[in-house]
């Protein structure tokens, strides 16, 4: 029965499908994205694997360069330089082709509206690619290994190889997303004093706008990181160094989850111009406030930054730079709290710094609130009845709390 290629293909398809759908469930079951779009990107990801095989076939036929043979020969002759080169080339081809599935759809439709979208759709494409790759791999190795070896290989590919693809593509997707929204992000970085010399150099060298240079830089950075990790893990696997691969994949997955949890990643930065709401604040006045956001962000007054952003977004709801400031301030506070928790676990300090120590307006409002409270207590203690003035102060106090 197992000699029938169609049966073998069917079994390989089912075996490869089980982990793919488990991963899809883990990554997308709690997500509100359209299941149809995820399926579409997954399907395109599936097509990229045969496309890659086609390119390799054409390369071998017309350019007499067979990448698989090149790597095998390099391994046999123990030529490390060529082994690395082979894996880098293979990694680059796989990453570019997987990414193409996402970027091509994104260019035709407004698929990616947040940085998180860029990561998620890249993961869907990676799962598609991995699914198709696993079918080929299982089909080819079915008859060549024992059942125990096959089960081990199946589990390893289902968990670690697939997870590896998710990590490479997820990281590339993250940088692609940042690059896509480079106009707003570059502006926010400039205001927060985080301008990069490399971006400035690229912009100057190619005579392109700073945001465009930043976009190119991010896409290349994402590609570089994805190829490096991909080649490195493949290189280790070639020499059966499994334990570091497992550790790297686990760390990579944790990092990917961290990127997905960032508040800045959930911001909808791609807005239809026709539906963009107008600001109710004069441009010059708004610029002053945004400039102040940049200054206070640099001074780590994150609570003040968040409060100002909230008020400003009531006036200008679709301002992406303000949204970014708010999300990043919130993320930085979360990071600070995480570091603080870790530090507090290691070092028991006598005096812990409050998160408001670096904030101005929030700190003063709290001080003012305390003064009003103490004054109210002092004035109400001897008196039995509440005067209208005190009642008014109490009402004002409530308003403060609500505004915060």
């Amino acid at each position: 029965m197992f000699d029938n290629p169609l049966v073998l293909l069917g079994i390989s398809l089912v075996c490869a499908g089980i982990p793919a759908f488990i991963w899809l469930y883990i990554l997308f079951s709690k997500n509100s994205k359209s299941k149809f779009v995820i399926a579409l990107v997954f399907g395109l990801g599936c097509l990229t694997a045969p496309l890659l095989l086609g390119i390799q076939f054409l390369s071998a036929k017309y350019f007499q360069f067979d990448l698989g043979n090149f790597i095998d020969t390099s391994v046999l002759t123990n030529n490390t330089k060529y082994i690395v080169l082979g894996f880098v080339l293979a990694g680059a081809m796989e990453e570019i082709i997987k990414h193409y599935a996402v970027s091509s759809v994104d260019k035709k439709t407004i698929l990616i509206k947040t940085i998180g979208d860029a990561i998620r759709y890249s993961l869907a494409a990676a799962l598609g690619f991995s699914f198709a790759e696993n079918i080929v791999y299982l089909y080819q190795n079915w008859a060549q290994v024992s059942i125990n070896e096959f089960i081990g290989m199946y589990i390893y590919r289902s968990v670690f190889t697939t997870c590896g693809h998710l990590i490479y593509s997820g990281i590339f997707g993250y940088y692609y997303g940042i690059g896509k929204f480079s106009i707003d992000i570059t502006k926010q970085h400039q205001l927060a004093g985080e301008s990069s010399k490399i971006t400035a150099f690229i912009a100057k060298f190619f005579s392109i706008p700073l945001s465009h240079a930043y976009q190119q830089q991010m896409v290349l950075k994402g590609l570089f990181i994805a190829i490096t990790i991909h080649s490195f893990l493949n290189f280790l696997l070639q020499f059966n160094v499994v334990f570091p691969v497992i550790i790297s994949v686990v760390l990579g997955y944790v990092y990917l989850q961290y990127l997905l949890s960032r508040k800045a990643g959930h911001l909808i930065l791609s807005t239809d111009i026709s539906s963009k709401r107008k600001t109710s604040m004069a441009k010059n006045d708004e610029d002053v406030v945004i400039e102040l956001l940049g200054l206070w962000f640099q001074e780590k007054k994150y609570v003040d930054v968040i409060h100002i952003c909230e008020r400003l977004l009531e006036r200008d709801p679709d301002n992406n730079v303000v949204k970014l400031f708010k999300a990043q301030a919130s993320d930085r506070m979360d990071d600070k709290d995480t570091y603080k928790t870790i530090l507090n676990t290691i070092l028991i300090r006598e005096k812990d710094l409050s998160k408001n120590d670096q904030n101005i307006i929030t700190k003063y409002i709290e001080n003012k609130d305390q003064i009003i409270k103490s004054q109210t207590t002092a004035r109400t203690t001897p008196s039995i009845t509440e005067t209208p003035e005190i009642k008014k102060e109490e009402d004002n106090k409530k308003t403060f709390t609500l505004q915060l």
């Binding site: 010059n284 006045d285 002053v288 406030v289 206070w296 100002i308 008020r311 307006i361 003063y364 409002i365």
Partner: protein, 122 residues
């Protein structure tokens, strides 16, 4: 340097408080704010305790982000010394900025100098 005028008027007479009105006119921007604000800081140095300040913003056309930072700092220094600060006659654009920044939650703003004085005198 953009034109900006800062004059300090002593209005302590007739009240039992060390009260000053700071009249600011023109545009407070990057070119002048660091230099001009020193006049107010000198006043704070000379009167570290119980200073009552009214900022008359009637003729202030523009204030930049740095000047908002200075205003917040001045508020902090004065209140720590037991004094008070109010704003008066701010133009709609200035009032708008201060409201969004959250300063109007800290510093009361009035339509007239008299109302601001009355608030500080009480």
């Amino acid at each position: 340097m953009t034109d900006v005028r800062i004059t300090i008027e002593d209005t302590s007479a007739g009240t039992n408080k060390n009260m000053r009105i700071i009249h600011i006119g023109g545009q407070l921007d990057e070119s002048n704010v660091d230099e001009k604000i020193q006049e107010i800081y000198k006043l704070l140095e000379a009167n570290p305790q119980n200073l009552f300040l009214i900022f008359d913003l009637e003729n202030l056309e523009y204030m930049n982000s740095k000047s908002i930072g200075y205003l917040t700092d001045i508020y902090g220094k004065i209140t720590e010394g037991g004094g008070k600060v109010t704003l008066a006659k701010a133009r709609p654009n200035i009032a708008d900025i201060l409201q969004v920044v959250g300063l109007t939650q800290l510093i009361q703003s009035f339509d007239s100098i008299e109302a601001a004085k009355a608030a500080l005198s009480s």
